[in-house]
């Protein structure tokens, strides 16, 4: 690596001392995030495995339990999340072009959509609590099936999976807030916006998880004969 390029890179961004070039640094960060996301897939994978096994063991109970979830609200929330992914893409695009104001606007929009999603999710959880569909409740009861045990398993999975997903959303919200502060402090430029880029990867990943969760939890009964 020529020392000239090294010096140039140091002017424009914080090139950390273990790297030779800005490109190497960006590649390393991006690869690191992808590997982290693979870890996340395995993390959620354990729950998806449990879901698969219990759904094939108790197909009808799962269908009945699934139909007690509010599909309309779930669908609206899915749209909200997809919108947030769109605004996140726009934030990354603004980062590429080095337009700080646009970055901030789109990050705030993403933040708002993310918070709407979490608010709606909290409303849904509360609804489940009121309807006595929470597995820890002594008064737990699900209409339409004699098998209350497997029904509890469905809702255990529902709360564990949506809860873990929501936790990732909360982390995402924290990341967005940090990025907004950093953008305001002029940390990013067209040459250096790696944190926005890899945070985008994380945000989309969390969205994709929901894209799987929504049909698996809300839409099971759709293809069963009525």
């Amino acid at each position: 690596m020529s020392s000239e390029a090294h010096a140039h890179a140091e002017e424009t961004l914080a090139l950390r001392e273990q790297f030779d070039t800005a490109e190497q640094q960006k590649d390393a960060s991006t690869l690191g995030m992808w590997i982290f996301l693979i870890t996340e897939i395995m993390f959620f994978g354990g729950m998806f495995a449990a879901y698969t096994i219990y759904r094939s063991a108790y197909p009808t109970v799962f269908a009945v339990a699934s139909s007690s979830l509010n599909v309309t609200i779930g669908a609206i929330n899915t749209c909200v999340l997809l919108l947030s992914s769109f605004t996140m893409v726009m934030a990354v695009r603004a980062g590429q072009m080095g337009k700080r104001n646009m970055i901030i606007i789109f990050l705030i929009l993403t933040l708002i959509f993310g918070c709407i999603f979490l608010g709606v999710k909290a409303y849904e959880w509360n609804e489940k609590y009121v309807e006595h569909h929470m597995p820890g409740q002594a008064a737990f009861h699900l209409e339409g099936t004699p098998l209350q045990g497997p029904a509890k398993i469905f809702f255990s999975l529902y709360f564990a999976m949506t809860g873990l997903h929501a936790l990732h959303m909360v982390v995402g919200v924290g990341i967005l807030l940090t990025l907004i502060v950093q953008t305001r402090a002029k940390k990013f430029s067209a040459e250096y916006f790696t944190p926005i880029d890899i945070s985008g990867l994380y945000w989309h990943f969390v969205d994709v998880i929901w894209i799987f969760l929504f049909p698996l939890l809300y839409l099971i009964d759709r293809h069963l004969p009525k």
Partner: protein, 540 residues
Amino acid sequence: MTTAVLQERTHYLNNGYGLKSWLLTKDHKRIAVLYFITISIFFALGGVFASLIRLELVTPAGDLVSSETYNKLFTMHGVIMVFFFLIPSVPATMGNFFLPMMIGARDLAFPKINLLSWYLLIAGGGFAIFAMMAGGVDTGWTFYTPYSTTYSNTYVIATALGIFIAGFSSILTGLNFIVTVHRMRAPGMTWFKMPLFVWANYATGVIQVLGTPVIAVTLVLVFCERVFHIGIFDPALGGDPVLFQHLFWFYSHPAVYIMVLPAMGVISELVSTFSRKPIFGYPFVAFSSVAIAVIGFLVWGHHLFVSGQSLYAGLVFSFLSYFVAIPSAIKVFNWTATLYKGSISYATPMLYAFGFIGLFTIGGLTGLFVAALGIDVHVTDTYFVIAHFHYVMVGGTVMAYLGGVHYWWPKMTGRMYPEGWAKLSALFIFVGFNLTFFPQFILGYLGMPRRYHAYPPEFQVLHVASTAGATVLAVGYILPAIYLAWSLRYGPVAGSNPWGATGLEWATPSPPPTHNFDRIPVVTHEAYDYTAVPQEVEVV
């Protein structure tokens, strides 16, 4: 005169003093030292529990401790040794220190994340130690449900949380290694010029990244089942406790390779250096690490032969377990072939390497015994299994760990250890280890079950032999703690390459400067090319 030489030059140890310069360091070498101190403490703690277990088993009656206490002792021994010593052992210390140096990098790709991973281990260890001081945990290190979720009245939650947090330490180490190997290699350092230690740690990183999250989520579910009374594994609801076992072993079998693959990497370095020959069949040894990482994920069902798993699943898992032995055997054969016509020196690290090869072979072959359905039904949950995995974990990993510590000690500290004492303690460890664990094969075959604190008097002779061996082993472990500490001050100055080894880490002065290389090296030679041994670096 010797102290003067070491202090004139700035190196990673004297570049900043005081607690803060250590606790906030981003230098991979200092973080490795932090890990080294931490896991040494955990090893001692796990050893204390083991000693109490062996003391209890001297007499057939359960007289030293109550059965409840005994349950806690073997649980805490397992938890500490597996999650807080063996998993971090080689990668977090020697991997951290030497992987970047071996590929000619100034540091790992993510130094802050590296420091974070040490703090995660400390935090996880804090929870585990809190659980132990508050009253302990008695589920066995395997946390089988529904005992762990419903019936145990001990500190399962704190312990599970501790392991969960320590798991992220392991994931981040693996992630850091993978990215570093992909992106930070020096010019000319192609994949097939990397030392085999790097290959081994890379393959380990793959397992850490893919396997650890699965046990993390499993422990989350156990945690939620205890705290929020959800029911995923609860048979009362129609849940399946065997599902827990599947998820647990999906990680915990590959975890064996997290513990032993880096150890094999150490052995490759030792065998080559001390026979002054390149490793025979380098590409096969390199790829066998990757093969172990991949196939290792397909064999977990051999832990469930008697858990109500279907016979066909048992057959497939049995076959695959035999299959995964092949890449391990490739390594052993290639090390042996490397020795052939080599100019072998019997320095302490090489003694440990020989110990590893012999003991790991016994551990591996008895692994084939228990991977066979018929034999496993007979020896499940007996001391045969205990002896088998201690031959792999202690006879394998700990031997390689100590071999590596002696091999790289001069590089890490700038000083040699006392060779005579080191050889003596290696002998103690080898003899003590075999005396401890070989009788356990016989005990298990005769039907002595694991996890019992009382036993029929017929077994006493073998148990006493085992405890006697454990005493010798303990002496063997205490000796290095003393003479290594002594050598920090009084050991002879080592020079940059006391073994005449080939890795790039030996092309730096001892101890290395903070950024490892003044000028990033350009690699032109193959790995283990003894015509190109790094010259003594001028240490001024």
